[in-house]
Symmetry: C2
Subunit: 248 residues, 2 copies
DNA sequence: CGCCCATTTGACAGCTTTCAAATCGCGTGG
DNA sequence: CCACGCGATTTGAAAGCTGTCAAATGGGCG
C-alpha cells in the first residue's frame, strides 16, 4: 500500500511563502526523516535539551510551552499538520521551551544538518523556511497582545478564531466547526487564565450564541459575531488571500 | 571626517549566530541603505503599510507595538543598536504592527530586495539572519509567558533584567545600571499593566533595594536579587556564553 | 515664572483567581 | 449491562491583584 510522504503537508505550506521549482519540491520531499508517533501529553522536546532534529507534523496537534517560577505553565503556540515545529530548537541547539503532543501525533523528525543544507543549497527553500519563521513570529506577537491587553472573553474568542482559520487553511477544518482538542485547562494555559475562568467565559460565549459546545468539540455558531467578540483580524497570519475567503 | 558604517553593529550581532567569511562581511557592509533619523515617538512603520525596507538600528531605541480593539496598546518588542528590526515587515510585505522610535534614533533603511539577494547569494548570511529571526521569536515566547503567567512585580523585574543584559551584550550598558529610556506608561505597555500599577511595582522593587531610581534612569542595585524577583533566566536570549558572564 | 507631561498616591471598583464541592463523561471491571 | 473511579467540567462564594478615577507633586523647558 502506498503511503503519502509525511512531508507533503509541509511542502504545501512552504509554497504559500515562496514559489518553488520542481527541483526544490523534489529536494524537500527527499529530505531524510524518522517517523515517530507520540501519544497525548507525550514530550517531544524538553527545555534545556540539546536538540538535533526539527519536526514536521503529519497528523495530530502539538503545542509548545514554558513554565515559570510559580509552576504555572504558558502555552506559546499550537501546531497542526504541515507545521514545521521547532526550527528554533533545532537551529539554536538548546531548547528554550517544551514541545508536547496535544493529541496522538505522527511526526517526521528531520535532522538539523539536512535542514541547514537544503536551506543553504536552495535559496527558494531557505527563503520559504525563513518566511515560515517570520510568520511564526507574527503569531507570537499577536499572542503577546492577546494575553497582555485583551480581557478574558475576548482572548478566548480570539484563540478560537485563530484555530478555526488555521485549520481551514491547512485543509483540516469542517464546515462551521471543529474538534477542539484541548481541555479547558489547556485553553487557560494558552490565554493566561485559570481553567475555572475559561469555563465561565466559554459559557458566556455559548450563552450569547457565538459557539455551540458538545463534549470536547466547539462549533462556531456565529462566525461574524465571534470575530467581533475576539477582536480578530486575520492579517497577522499572513495567509494567502484565498485562504481567508471563509472569513468574509 | 570618517564615520563608521551604521551597519557595523549589525555585522557584529550576526556574527554571534554564524561564522562569516571576509567576503560575507564585506558584502554585508556594502549593502545599500538610506540613513534616516527619527525623533522620539516618530513612526517608522504603520500597521497595514506595504513595506519595502528593513531597518538596522545605528543608535537609539525602537519598539514595535500592536493596538487592540479597546484602544489599548501592547509593545511586543524593544530594539537597540545593531538590531535588524522588521525583517518581518520587509519580507512579509504587509506590516502587521507598528514600529516607532522610543528615543531619537538613527536607522539604516535597507531595501527588501537587497536583503533577499544577500541572504540567497551568501548562505552564511542567510543563516545568520534566519537565526536572528529565530532569536527574536524566542524572545517573543518569553514575553508571552511573562505577560501571561507572571504577576506584575515579576513581569517588571523580568523586563528590567532582559533590557540590562541585552544592553550589555550590545556593548552599550554601563557598570551596574543604565538609562531606561521608557516612561512608566511605556513600561506598562510592555508588560500589559497600567502606568499606575507600574509605578507601584517600581516602588516595591525600589523599596526592597533591588533597584535605584533617579529621573528616567534605573540602576540595578542588587542584580542577584532582581534576577530572582524577575524569575529571569537568560537562556532564551541565546547569547554567546561570554556575553552572559556579567550575570554570574 | 509658568506650563505641561510624567510621576505619585489614595480610595474604591472590578475582573480574575482561589477554594470547594457537585456533576458529568467515559473507560474499566464485575 | 450496570457499578465504580478518575479526570474534566460546572458552579458558587469570597479573596485578591490590578485597574480606574482623581488629585497632588515634581521636573524640564520656553
Amino acid at each position: 500500500m502506498l503511503t503519502a510522504s509525511p512531508l507533503i503537508p509541509m511542502l504545501r505550506k512552504l509554497e504559500y511563502w515562496a514559489t518553488l521549482a520542481e527541483a526544490d519540491r523534489e529536494a524537500l520531499l527527499t529530505l531524510p526523516y524518522i517517523l515517530k508517533t507520540i501519544e497525548p501529553k507525550g514530550m517531544i522536546v524538553r527545555e534545556g535539551d540539546q536538540t538535533t532534529h526539527a519536526c514536521v507534523i503529519r497528523s495530530g496537534f502539538v503545542y509548545r510551552h514554558k513554565v515559570v517560577a510559580n509552576g504555572a505553565r504558558q502555552i506559546v503556540s499550537l501546531h497542526m499538520s504541515g507545521d514545521l515545529v521547532d526550527l528554533q530548537n533545532a537551529l539554536l541547539h538548546t531548547a528554550d521551551h517544551y514541545v508536547q503532543a496535544l493529541t496522538r501525533s505522527e511526526l517526521a523528525m528531520v535532522p538539523r544538518a539536512a535542514i541547514r543544507r537544503i536551506a543553504a543549497d536552495r535559496p527558494a527553500i531557505g527563503e520559504a523556511m525563513w518566511h515560515d519563521t517570520l510568520v511564526d513570529g507574527s503569531i507570537f506577537r499577536e499572542w503577546i497582545a492577546n494575553v497582555g491587553r485583551r480581557d478574558a472573553r475576548t482572548r478566548l474568542a480570539h484563540l478560537l478564531c485563530e484555530f478555526a482559520l488555521r485549520l481551514a487553511a491547512a485543509g483540516i477544518g469542517e464546515e462551521n466547526g471543529y474538534e477542539l482538542p484541548m481541555t479547558q485547562e489547556q485553553l487557560g494555559d494558552c490565554t493566561g487564565l485559570t481553567p475555572v475562568h475559561v469555563n465561565r467565559m466559554l459559557k458566556s460565549l455559548s450563552d450569547d450564541g457565538l459557539i455551540h459546545r458538545s463534549k470536547r468539540a466547539v462549533a462556531i455558531a456565529d462566525w461574524q459575531g465571534l470575530l467581533i467578540a475576539g477582536d480578530f483580524q486575520s492579517g497577522y497570519l499572513h495567509l494567502p488571500d484565498e485562504k481567508v475567503a471563509m472569513m468574509r
